[in-house]
């Protein structure tokens, strides 16, 4: 058992536009790679069964739970975390929506919630309330009761579609 730990595998990936290379244990989870190797602690860990969604990031354009992917599986890939969302000091409309609509309280679920929302709005720019609630099933929040999260998503949808009213 003690010997098996020594093996390390080289990985390379682009995270928030910057290229990184490292040698990692094959079992290292992507979330730990991001947090511990790269210091990107905005991606959170809330469970050990892939339920809570606090760890959601983009991998190659798809939102994934980074606690469920090994760092080596992301080799050669492109990752975006919550830290990469704001552009030129401007919040992404989803971040803005969460702020405007009080879509967060403790903020622990928030990075994952924002990343999942971002991905939802890429797939479906004008989701209904029901679609929003279903799309966020994999993201748990214990503080907000979700009402203001739904409003935050609607706000972002409206901003991104140039101000047209979202359906509810």
């Amino acid at each position: 058992m003690a010997e098996a730990v020594a093996t390390r595998i080289p990985v390379k990936m682009t995270v928030n536009g910057t290229e990184y290379a490292a040698e990692v244990e094959p079992r290292l989870l992507l979330v730990h790679f991001l947090r511990d190797n790269l210091g990107l602690t905005g991606t959170h860990i809330g469970c050990d069964t892939s339920q809570c969604g606090a760890c959601v990031v983009y991998l190659n354009g798809e939102s994934i739970k980074s606690c469920t992917v090994l760092a080596v599986q992301a080799d050669g890939g492109e990752v975006m975390t919550i830290e990469g969302l704001a552009k030129d000091g401007e919040y992404d409309p989803v971040q803005q929506g969460f702020w405007e609509m009080h879509g967060l309280q403790c903020g622990y679920c928030t990075p994952g919630m924002i990343m999942s929302t971002h991905s939802l709005l890429k797939r479906n720019p004008n989701p209904s309330e029901t679609e929003i609630r279903h799309a966020l099933e994999g993201n748990l929040c214990r503080c907000t009761g979700y009402q203001n999260i739904v409003k935050a998503v609607q706000y972002a949808a409206e901003q991104m579609s140039g101000g047209s009213a979202p359906t509810s």
């Binding site: 058992m1 003690a2 730990v5 020594a6 244990e25 079992r27 290292l28 730990h32 947090r35 210091g39 990107l40 602690t41 905005g42 991606t43 959170h44 860990i45 809330g46 469970c47 050990d48 069964t49 339920q51 809570c52 606090a54 975390t81 919550i82 830290e83 969302l85 919040y91 971040q95 969460f98 702020w99 405007e100 009080h102 967060l104 309280q105 403790c106 903020g107 622990y108 679920c109 928030t110 990075p111 924002i114 309330e129 029901t130 929003i132 609630r133 279903h134 966020l136 099933e137 748990l140 929040c141 214990r142 503080c143 907000t144 009761g145 979700y146 009402q147 203001n148 999260i149 739904v150």
Partner: protein
């Protein structure tokens, strides 16, 4: 010159100033704290609910890569067990608290047995797997009622029949029994309130660092009460001088009570750091550990006897409750079922004969302590079920039964007969009427009757919950009588720097509530300074006055009042200084719009910034005045505050599947004066959702031998986005006279009100089938089985 009136901020839905860091991933939670040389602690936990530890062999683990040390209960048996700081008042409590690591015996699955400290977290998990423990399994017991029966396995020698305490309040049981026997209508029921896991999305964690140079310790912890954690760690566990420990709570990802308590890891990481010559040691539990071992809530099993008149007036009530406290006592465990539950069982009603008896019990489960709404949630569920049982037995509409029995506005201050503090004020009927109107009660009752007539598959249920809670904890003298082992006031320091910038230090602290925003609004208005010029500091014991922390909906009502009073002192001093500088009599000075001036001449007045500068440099102060504008207040509230309201839930229950869908949720709350309606609504949304979770989905299940069957988020169902409705909220505003802000508190109201509203709705939907009570969570299976048994 004093400017014209700045915009008032109190009462406005100001966007939170803490959000920018949290929406960008720049928040710093415990797992994000980075320290050089950080070592990692992982915990080996008991797989048995009750067992003797025969031997532990850690030799193989010690030899593994990266292992800095392995420690067992034997290694730290000189360290005191954790303290219990709130016992049931006036009766004997058989106290057994956990050691940092189990010594000879374990009493719950998940009990910490050994720890490893390693260079990296992955190595720690590897090393755990190499420790061998030989256990001798002992019989375990689950279920508080069962644990007290003859022949049940015993957990602790000093607690025969596993009883921690027996405590009661109200009239004599005999007197109440006689009143029950004489009542026209009599109902008996067994009412449960299942054990819950608080499930803050951030688990618990701690980092300890010892400084060999100074002999000082720093503890970073997911904490709702850093000063209290310092006090308990120093004086009761490690025996270190209190001033040698500093406790810091970084951003805290939700608490709901579970982060009030002192846990084994907090003193342990400090001690371990000392053993490692000052390397910081970190513990961050995973979700499974959080479920097994971070304190749970609720866990009641009660026998209820109700007496009423034929027209629905409650004449007598007797409640006998078994309260599970788990394998040991958590920090304030006995106080919840006694003071916070027992004394509030009467709810918003005048009940002439009432007796509440509590038996606190050890069983082989996780420790049970206060969880959002603590005690008052269980009380409101109890009394609101009782009221519906009366409605069911008499045929009087549930709204009418509430009206008939309500405490009336002229009855305040009202003593409910259970030995607690009097309710300050309220208008319960007004809130009920408004909620009925909002929901369209009469139309709904008509629709319900029609659906029943037609035998519709979707059965309509309407659930009412009128509640009152005691919060703003709390008046120290009273709490002392109630067995609380300390004070419960709150501190605040307000300081204006030479530059006119304001720093507010508070002993309360946020874990999602938005203290920085709310308190800044308050100070901006009271002082007339720009919102941006105010900084609210909290969560660090270093250089700050003692504070009791945040729980029991006390941050604004108690902590906010301390700030308010400090601001008033600062303002008073500024006015004296202004009188001196303007060569006017102090009584001619007014303070307004951010400055002080002689009545009628604001143009020649001094702004607070100018006065702060003058006070700081001290060139020209009135005789005897000390430099700087700064004040500290320790505010001890004279009483609790009593928020109230009515919530109504409308559900459809499927007759074929037992599935419940929440169609509407209407809430009328009176939390007194509101500083930030955005935040107040958010607290209500979250609280209501947690209570709804208890009614429909959540519940810890232990197997007979004490293994947890709901050990992950796969099996323990907290509410997801698709399970929650949109809430329709309104307020009535009855300012409390208990504090100068008129604020009652809102952190727990939603959770206290919603569980009975939702449960009453589901039971109402099936009441025509002969069902009058069911145990929560009201899952489709449970509702379906209940229907099947009644047809």
């Amino acid at each position: 010159m004093v400017a014209s009136a700045p915009e008032k901020l109190v009462g406005k839905p100001i966007k939170r100033r803490e959000d920018p860091r949290l929406i960008t991933g720049a928040g710093v939670f415990i797992d994000d704290v980075r320290l050089p040389g950080l070592a990692h602690m992982a915990v080996l936990r008991s797989p048995y609910a009750h067992a003797r530890i025969v031997s532990i062999n850690a030799d193989a683990a010690r030899a593994m890569p990266g292992v800095l040390g392995v420690f067992t209960g034997e290694d730290i048996k000189h360290i005191n067990p954790l303290p219990c700081a709130w016992q049931a008042p006036g009766v004997e409590n058989k106290v057994n608290t956990p050691r940092l690591l189990a010594l000879d015996e374990v009493h719950q699955v998940g009990d910490p047995v050994a720890v490893v400290v390693t260079e990296s977290p992955y190595q720690a998990k590897d090393a755990l797997a190499a420790i061998e423990v030989d256990y001798e399994e002992l019989p375990a017991v689950v279920g508080a009622r069962k644990a007290t029966t003859p022949g049940a396995p015993q957990l602790h020698e000093n607690a025969p029949s596993n009883i921690v305490f027996r405590w009661s309040c109200g009239q004599d049981a005999d007197q109440v029994d006689a009143a029950l026997a004489a009542s026209e209508v009599q109902v008996r029921e067994r009412i449960g309130n299942q054990q819950l896991i608080p499930t803050a999305i951030e688990p618990r964690g701690s980092i300890g660092r010892y400084d060999p140079g100074t002999g000082e310790y720093t503890l970073w912890a997911t904490s709702q009460a850093p000063h209290v954690h310092r006090l308990l760690t120093a004086a009761f566990v490690l025996g270190v001088p209190e001033q040698k420990i500093r406790v810091i709570a970084p951003d805290v990802g939700g608490g709901f009570g579970s982060k009030i308590y002192l846990y084994f890891d907090m003193p342990l990481v400090l001690w371990l750091s000392e053993q490692l010559g000052g390397r910081p040691v970190k513990f961050f539990e995973d979700r499974s550990e959080n479920f097994l071992h971070t304190s749970h809530g609720r866990g009641h099993d009660s026998d209820v006897a109700i007496g009423a008149t034929k027209d629905g007036k409650i004449t007598a009530l007797r409640v006998d409750t078994f309260a599970n406290l788990g394998g040991y006592l958590s920090t304030i465990a006995p106080g919840t079922p006694s003071t916070l539950y027992g004394r509030m069982v009467a709810g918003c009603y005048k009940i002439p004969n009432i007796h509440v008896g509590i038996t606190g019990v050890y069983t082989n489960t996780a420790m049970v302590d206060a969880y959002r709404g603590a005690g008052r949630t269980e009380a409101s569920y109890m009394i609101e079920r009782v009221v519906d049982l009366v409605a069911n037995a008499t045929g009087v509409d549930p709204a009418e039964v509430r009206r008939l029995n309500f405490v009336q506005p002229e009855d305040f201050p009202f003593d409910n007969g259970l030995g607690g503090l009097p309710y300050d004020s309220g208008d319960y009927e007004k809130a009920l009427n408004r909620a009925l109107e909002m929901v369209g009660y009469e139309d709904l009752r008509r629709e319900q009757a029609e659906r029943r007539e037609n035998g519709d598959r979707k059965m309509l249920g309407i659930g009412l919950s009128s509640f009152v809670e005691a919060c703003g904890l709390g008046p120290s003298q009273y709490m002392g009588r109630e067995g609380w082992a300390a004070g419960l006031w709150e501190s605040a320091n307000v300081r204006i720097h030479l530059t006119g910038k304001v720093v507010v230090t508070t002993g309360s602290l946020p874990h999602g509530q938005g203290h920085e925003t709310t308190f800044s609004q308050l100070v901006a208005d009271e002082l007339g300074v720009p919102f941006e010029d105010i900084q609210v500091k909290h969560s660090d014991t270093q250089g700050t006055p003692f504070g009791y922390g945040s729980y029991g909906s006390r941050s604004l009502a108690v902590g906010g009042t301390a700030i308010y009073k400090s601001v008033a002192k600062v303002r008073e001093k500024a006015m004296q200084l202004a009188a001196h500088l303007l060569e006017a009599a102090p009584e001619d000075i007014v303070y307004e719009n951010g400055g002080a001036y002689v009545k009628g001449s604001p143009e020649s007045g001094k702004t607070i910034q100018e006065l702060a500068g003058a006070a700081h440099v001290g060139y020209d102060l009135p005789a005897g005045m000390e430099p700087t504008l700064e004040a500290t207040t320790f505010y001890d509230p004279p009483s609790f505050t009593f928020p109230f309201g009515t919530h109504i839930c409308v559900v459809e229950v499927d007759r074929d599947t037992g599935d419940t869908e929440v169609k509407r949720y209407v809430a009328v709350d009176d939390v007194g004066n509101v500083v930030n309606p955005l935040i107040v609504d958010g607290q209500l949304h979250g609280g209501i959702t947690q209570g709804l979770g208890q009614a429909l989905y959540e519940g810890v299940v232990y197997a007979e031998k004490g293994e947890m069957l709901t050990g992950s988020l796969n099996d323990y169902a907290i509410v997801r986005a698709s399970m929650a409705p949109m809430f329709e909220l309104e307020n009535t505003v009855t300012p409390t006279s208990v504090n100068p802000l008129g604020a009652r508190g809102v952190g727990e109201a939603g959770a206290i009100a919603s569980t009975p509203a939702v449960a009453n709705a589901v039971i109402d939907a099936v009441s025509h089938l002969g069902i009058r009570n069911m145990d929560m969570p009201l899952t489709p299976e449970r509702v379906w089985r209940s229907m099947a048994a009644n047809t």
